[in-house]
């Protein structure tokens, strides 16, 4: 039996209801990327203000389901003020969390609040929702012009 409360954790519902850094485009944005899953319609624009390798400010716009919205919101909180290398490391850790079974996941990996995304692993159809914002982040850091998709 699936317990939907593992997927729709309270933190997820909270970030869905009141997304942080949303809708927002920092005035000095110098890195942007578009994440779009055409089949399901989740559609976000991520904006970063990066100076000397530090993500000084971040915001996102668009619309999606609770999982994709909360994931994006949690991500913006987690990367704000961090350097690019740290953000890339978080991407790897979240990617691992969403795709590897809990047994192989690194315990206490310092993901903090982001660990609530781990409930998604039991819902394979929704992994693409949780990972969209993160792949968009990667595209923004690498300054890719083409929209990214996780479908």
């Amino acid at each position: 039996m699936m317990d939907l409360r593992n997927l729709y954790e309270e933190v997820i519902l909270d970030h869905n209801r009141n997304p942080r850094n949303y809708p927002k485009r920092p005035a000095s944005t110098n890195r942007s990327a578009h994440g779009f899953n055409p089949l399901c319609g989740d559609d976000f624009h991520l904006h970063l203000q990066v100076k000397d390798g530090i993500i000084e400010d971040v915001g996102f716009e668009g619309a999606g389901c609770a999982i994709s919205t909360a994931s994006a919101s949690l991500m913006t909180e987690a990367i704000k003020g961090k350097d690019e290398a740290h953000a890339k490391q978080l991407f790897e850790q979240v990617h691992h969390l969403l795709t590897q079974s809990p047994e192989t996941a690194t315990p206490g990996s310092g993901l903090g609040k982001l660990s609530v995304l781990g409930g998604v692993i039991d819902y394979p159809m929704r992994v693409k929702c949780a990972s969209l914002a993160w792949h968009t982040l990667q595209a923004a850091l690498e300054q890719l012009d083409t929209p990214v998709s996780t479908e």
Binding site: M1, Y8, L13, L39, G41, D43, C65, I67
Partner: protein, 422 residues
């Protein structure tokens, strides 16, 4: 030379009251649990389930009769050809085409529309000619016309819809103009359920000598279709939505049009003779059936149409109308629900959004309850934009659905509300 025949439908005159509880036992797939709950299948607008008689027909074909059609001199080929062509006769009867040669086997509605766009419209279009579609078309009745517009310089005109998702007929009549060359419109909308006033639309187009294609992908399984009475020039539908297999469908076209059209694809079966200097095309319907066709699919579709006709489309329509009324009222009564698609004339499709809960989350929560619906844009992105929503949840009903299925849907939606409001 086959002669026009009177429509014969033995099932209709002797029709008893339709019993959905009995009918659902014809569908083996419905007898299962999903996530520990009995499966409630409410995604019929995406694809319908298959009755045992269809599964058996396909199984029988591959077990006993598999062979290529129209070629072999041996017994199996004769049987395969007989059953394949028998399915064409069934299709002719199902939509009451005048002649069996007017029913072409295609992969589905999408291929049928592309065929008409490329083989009928494209050679006739000149720059600034106009094609008319509606705002509620499935992408498969938008993109083939955009392609043909790119190829010819013709322009696409779109009939708007009102807030109840009804096609604005007066605007359609205004759009019909001296440059209009073709009208392609959906009979019944997949995402909204709206049934369009196609008779008036066809009459108005014909008064100006403009041919009309009806996208019948959502119509043929829900209401009796009579292409002669409708007087449409083309009618397209898919097997898998009529309780038949995927990968097979029917394009109906008036014989005169089909005769004048160039082939869509070249290959075997569509030719009379081939030399490197000249190729003589085959007669209808084979001119449009290049290559070895989906023989098993056609035979399965024939069985599906016989199954549906056995119940009688009037009886099915009546049953589904009753489901629509109950489901619309019950879903609309849930707090924070907004129905998308409230046309006065509509089929058993209930599209909706829930305040604060994205359609995908509704879909996941219902799936945990064993209830299968569709969530997304339903390949009608312009419709989503028109109603200002990124996606809708959609429950779409078929002949085997019952009042208890609606109860399960409503219970699941209340669970979603509770989960998100906690």
């Amino acid at each position: 030379m086959s002669q026009p025949r009177e429509r014969v439908n033995i099932a209709r005159s002797t029709q008893a009251v339709f019993d959905p509880y009995k009918a659902r036992r014809d569908f083996p797939i419905l007898d299962q649990e999903v996530n520990g709950k009995p499966l409630i299948y409410l995604d019929n607008a995406a694809t319908s389930q298959k009755p045992k008689t269809v599964i058996d027909a396909i199984n029988h074909y591959y077990t006993h009769d598999n062979s290529n059609v129209h070629r072999g001199l041996h017994t199996l080929s004769e049987r395969a050809t007989r059953d394949y062509e028998g399915a064409r006769d069934t299709a002719r009867d199902f939509i009451n085409a005048r002649d069996r040669r007017e029913t072409i086997f295609v992969r589905g509605t999408t291929e049928a529309i592309n065929l008409v766009a490329q083989s009928y419209a494209r050679p006739r279009l000149e720059p600034d000619d106009e094609l008319i579609i509606s705002h509620m078309e499935h992408h498969s009745n938008i993109v083939p016309w955009q392609l043909v517009c790119e190829q010819t310089g013709a322009k696409l005109r779109v009939v708007p819809i009102n807030d109840d998702a009804e096609l604005m007929l007066e605007r359609y009549l205004e759009l019909l103009g001296p440059r209009t060359r073709f009208v392609s419109v959906v009979y019944q909308s997949n995402s909204l359920g709206t049934i369009n006033p196609v008779r008036e639309m066809i009459t108005a187009a014909h008064e100006r000598g403009i041919p009309v294609l009806l996208d019948g992908a959502q119509a043929a399984q829900h209401m009796r279709v009579d292409v002669q009475e409708l007087d449409c020039d083309f009618f397209a539908f898919s097997g898998h939505k009529v309780y038949g297999p995927t990968g097979i469908g029917i394009l109906y076209g008036k014989e005169q049009h089909l005769t004048e059209m160039t082939p869509y694809q070249g290959g075997g079966d569509m030719i009379k003779s081939v030399s490197f200097e000249e190729t003589l095309y085959n007669d209808l319907p084979y001119k449009f059936e290049a290559g070895t066709p989906n023989i098993a699919g056609a035979i399965g579709l024939g069985a599906a149409m016989n199954y549906v006709s056995g119940h009688g489309l009037e009886a099915i329509e009546q049953h589904e109308k009753s489901l629509l009324a109950q489901a619309s009222d019950a879903v609309a009564a849930i707090p924070g629900v907004r129905l998308i698609g409230t046309a006065r004339v509509k089929a058993a499709v209930v599209g909706f959004v829930m305040e604060g809960i994205h359609a995908h989350d509704v879909g996941t929560i219902l799936d945990a309850e064993g209830v299968a619906i569709r969530a997304g844009h339903h390949c009608t992105m312009p419709v989503m934009k028109r109603f200002g929503v990124p996606a809708t949840a959609r429950a779409s009903f078929g002949l085997y659905n019952t009042k208890e299925d609606i109860d399960a849907l409503v219970a699941g939606l209340h669970k979603a509300r509770e989960l998100f409001d906690r």
